[in-house]
């Protein structure tokens, strides 16, 4: 049991205190980036089914126009991020490594880049739940915190348990990232509106905004905007990694544990990221599509780190040019340094769920001095799920993947990276676990 919890602090057991490096960009107001000459829009930007392209080569598209439509319920449409001409619908390199189908748009230089005007502005108060969920799907919104799970699916609660609380995740516990921080300072009204829409879809009576106590300015700013009936409240949670993980936030704010292997809806919770809800609050009433997002560009070797409003599909090369990348032998990461994804090429575009582009050079972990596990128990004391990473790591080295899953709860690991962060032996534990999970998935496929 965590001692701080006894003193009324909102926190969870274990976890780690990280170097934050947020001050490098947190005070920088969001600036709009110019449009890249060529925009690459992959069709698979969300969990679920990829969108279906409905444009052809040479077609002129207007900014905000639907260029790919949702393929069923577990899918969202994609809107044109710029006005221009379709250059091709072709396979391109993506951040995930492989090649994927994408729509490539050549940006038109002499258009005003005005968003396509929509005539039917929505009064969301008047819509029924189903209509509202459909309206959310039409915006093309997915979880912007990195999960890229279609938001309207999350709003369609299917569990037997009614949703009693909407948790709004404003923790942003990853180092370097300040996207959500800026959203909460600059888009408060949209955020509150988005919360109302989500509450209506979920039929949730109350909402709690959880914000790490390193962002006290946000707590102060939001307070006057909260409704007087107390249905939406904001709470400071202890600044600790991974406070922004769903399971941790649910425990910190309400003392509820999301069951192992289950979703938050199983215990009557729905958890949304602040950036997602702010976007919903902006786009749903205006009946527009999701075409641009706030992104933090930061790290080493940059002259202009900051928060930028960038069209989706902007290639990394263009972003880094504008952030003043000075070159050097650096690692490029999409997302935060603890859970982000490596980018293998400067030609890959940012997608709907890319919250940050991080360049790491001298602050990057070197993996040249791995020594044996000395069983110091640091990883056990860091693991927020209370797993035994030491034992898991030893089993992984022996390739006993099945045992890892069946006896040591490998599947409960959500790869937050705490164990690797604190390991004196510099063992890449999380990488081991990813490999183990992949082997287990393969084995299950063979069995079934």
């Amino acid at each position: 049991m965590n001692l701080l919890k006894l003193f009324g602090k909102k926190t969870f057991p274990h976890g780690i205190h990280l170097e934050e490096y947020k001050e490098e960009t947190s005070a920088k107001a969001t600036r709009r980036l110019p449009f890249a000459p060529e925009i690459i829009v992959p069709l698979a930007q969300n969990i679920g089914r990829p969108a279906k392209a409905i444009v052809f080569k040479g077609q002129h598209v207007t900014r905000g126009e639907v260029i790919a439509e949702a393929d069923g319920f577990m899918s969202v449409p994609i809107h044109a991020p710029v006005t221009g001409t379709i250059k091709a619908v072709d396979l391109v390199k993506t951040a995930e490594g492989g090649k994927q189908l994408a729509i490539i748009i050549t940006t038109s230089l002499n258009s005003g880049q005005h968003v396509l005007a929509t005539d039917n502005v929505i009064d969301y108060e008047q819509l029924s739940r189903e209509e509202l969920i459909k309206a959310v799907q039409n915006t093309g919104i997915v979880g912007l915190g990195g999960a890229a799970f279609p938001s309207h699916v999350k709003m369609t609660s299917t569990a037997d348990v009614p949703i009693h609380t909407l948790l709004v995740n404003g923790c942003e516990c990853e180092p370097f990232l300040t996207t959500d921080h800026r959203v909460m300072l600059e888009r408060i009204e949209q955020l509150i509106r988005g919360i109302h829409i989500a509450m209506k879809c979920l039929d949730a009576p109350k909402a709690i905004i959880g914000i790490e106590d390193n962002k006290l300015d946000v707590l102060q700013e939001i307070k006057p905007h909260l409704p007087s009936d107390g249905s939406i409240t904001n709470e400071a949670v202890v600044t600790k990694y991974p406070q922004g993980a769903q399971k941790m936030l649910a425990y910190s704010l309400l003392g509820i544990e999301i069951p192992s292997g289950g979703r938050s809806s199983a215990v009557g919770l729905a958890i949304f990221n602040v950036a997602t809800l702010a976007k919903i609050g902006l786009l749903v009433p205006e009946n527009q599509g999701y075409i641009e997002r706030i992104i933090t560009i930061t790290g080493d070797n940059l002259t202009n780190p900051g928060n930028y409003l960038a069209p989706i599909g902007t290639p990394l090369r263009f972003l880094l040019d504008h952030a003043g990348f000075m070159g050097g032998e650096a690692s490029l990461i999409l997302g935060g340094p603890m859970m982000g994804m490596p980018a293998h090429s400067l030609d890959v575009p940012i997608t709907k769920a890319t919250g940050a582009v991080l360049v790491l050079d001298e602050r990057l972990t070197k993996h040249n001095d791995i020594s044996p596990c000395i069983k110091c128990t640091r990883c056990l004391q860091a693991c927020p799920i209370n797993l035994n990473p030491s034992e898991l790591g030893l089993l992984a080295a022996k390739r006993r993947y099945q045992e890892m899953e069946e006896t040591y709860h490998l599947d409960d690991c959500f790869e937050c990276g705490c164990c690797s962060y604190v390991c004196p032996s510099n063992i890449p534990l999380v990488q081991y676990f990813r490999i183990a999970k992949a082997f287990n998935r393969e084995r299950h496929l063979q069995v079934d």
């Binding site: 859970m339 994804m341 032996s425």
Partner: protein, 352 residues
């Protein structure tokens, strides 16, 4: 640019890290042991210094030798061999013959560590393996104690120290009688308690004003050095706490039954090598459990076993065997004390 320079480094998150390296941890343990070493030199003179050097050098040389034999990069720079050497010296009597000490050091690393695969894979605490070996091989030398604070300790060796290899060491009884301040009987507080029923004052034990092994006499200094490591987050305080708790509880039980026959818990905790073993030996990370409950069970087991062996066994010093037993039990303790994970379902609990 040569082709071999072109390499792709595949890595996934996390990309940042902040932790002391294994070598840094081991070096800090060495720093924490140095004050204890200095105190033992102050107390027992140049013989203790020679003993410390003998075991440490022997441990490091053995480690280097085996790394060279197996064609691996030498691991003596991670300082874990030095830690084992220092720990080993501190559990030996100050007048222990140097050639025997060197054998102890060799055994500690060769049989206690390298045989299992080196650092991280040893089942037992290497220093204790070395000591257990010489305890069996040289039972007389390892129970021959000399008085602390002898007058000429900084200029002359204890006679037994310089015994020639494979020779029986000179008897120390005469020398002891010469240098002893006030009728030193050559017995440690534990031996006095066991065989003569004499209790040493707990205060003297705490400060370290008694005879005993080179580095284990001053409980106070041991606690201070241990506190430094705990402060640096390089020692798990839960293990020493559990060992002391286990000792106190089991000693208290017997003391409560018959205070005239059994020693007090305070005496048990501060006498012999218990404090040193609790802080520096039992807490050997590699050979102790990693699970929170397992750590407590392990510590309690070591403490309770120590008391039982001391009171009812044939040996005066028991903590070494208690810890070795605890080390051996570690895998099974871990198996039954896996932590409860976040969100574990009730059903899974009922099954187990």
């Amino acid at each position: 640019m040569a082709k071999s320079d072109f390499k792709i480094d595949i890595r996934t998150s996390p990309y940042i890290r902040k932790a002391p390296t294994v070598a840094q941890i081991m070096r800090n343990v060495v720093y924490a042991l140095l004050p204890l070493a200095a105190y033992s030199v102050y107390q027992f003179g140049i013989s203790a210094l020679a003993l410390l050097l003998a075991t440490t050098l022997s441990c490091m040389a053995t480690e280097h030798f085996f790394c060279w034999m197996s064609g691996k990069k030498s691991t003596i720079l991670d300082a874990s061999a030095a830690v084992s050497g220092l720990l080993l010296a501190m559990t030996l009597p100050p007048g222990f013959p140097l050639w025997m000490a060197a054998i102890a050091g060799f055994t500690a690393i060769a049989m206690g560590k390298t045989l299992f695969g080196g650092l991280g894979f040893n089942v037992f605490n290497p220093a204790l393996v070395g000591r257990a070996f010489v305890q069996a091989a040289f039972p007389v030398s390892i129970t021959t104690w000399t008085p602390e604070l002898a007058v000429n300790r900084f200029v002359e060796f204890i006679p037994s120290t310089l015994a020639l290899p494979f020779m029986k060491p000179a008897a120390t009884a005469e020398w002891t009688a010469q240098v002893a301040v006030d009728g030193f009987s050559g017995a440690t507080p534990l031996a006095l308690m066991k065989f003569q029923g004499i209790m040493t004052d707990a205060y003297d034990l705490f400060i370290g004003n008694v005879a005993g092994s080179a580095g284990e006499t001053s409980s106070l200094l041991i606690l201070v050095c241990g506190a430094y490591l705990v402060y640096k987050n390089m020692l798990d305080w839960r293990i020493p706490a559990a060992v002391i708790f286990g000792t106190v509880i089991s000693a208290e039980l017997f003391y409560f039954l018959d205070p005239s026959k059994y020693p007090s818990p305070a005496f048990m905790v501060f006498s012999g090598g218990l404090m040193f073993a609790a802080v520096f030996m039992a807490s050997d990370m590699v050979a102790s459990p990693v699970t929170p409950l397992g750590i407590f069970v392990f510590g309690f087991l070591v403490g309770a076993l120590t008391v039982i062996i001391r009171l009812f066994g044939g040996l005066t010093e028991a903590v070494m065997y208690a810890i070795l037993f605890g080390n051996a039990a570690t895998p099974i303790i871990e198996t039954y004390t896996q932590p409860r994970i976040y969100g574990a379902r009730k059903k899974a609990k009922e099954k187990s």
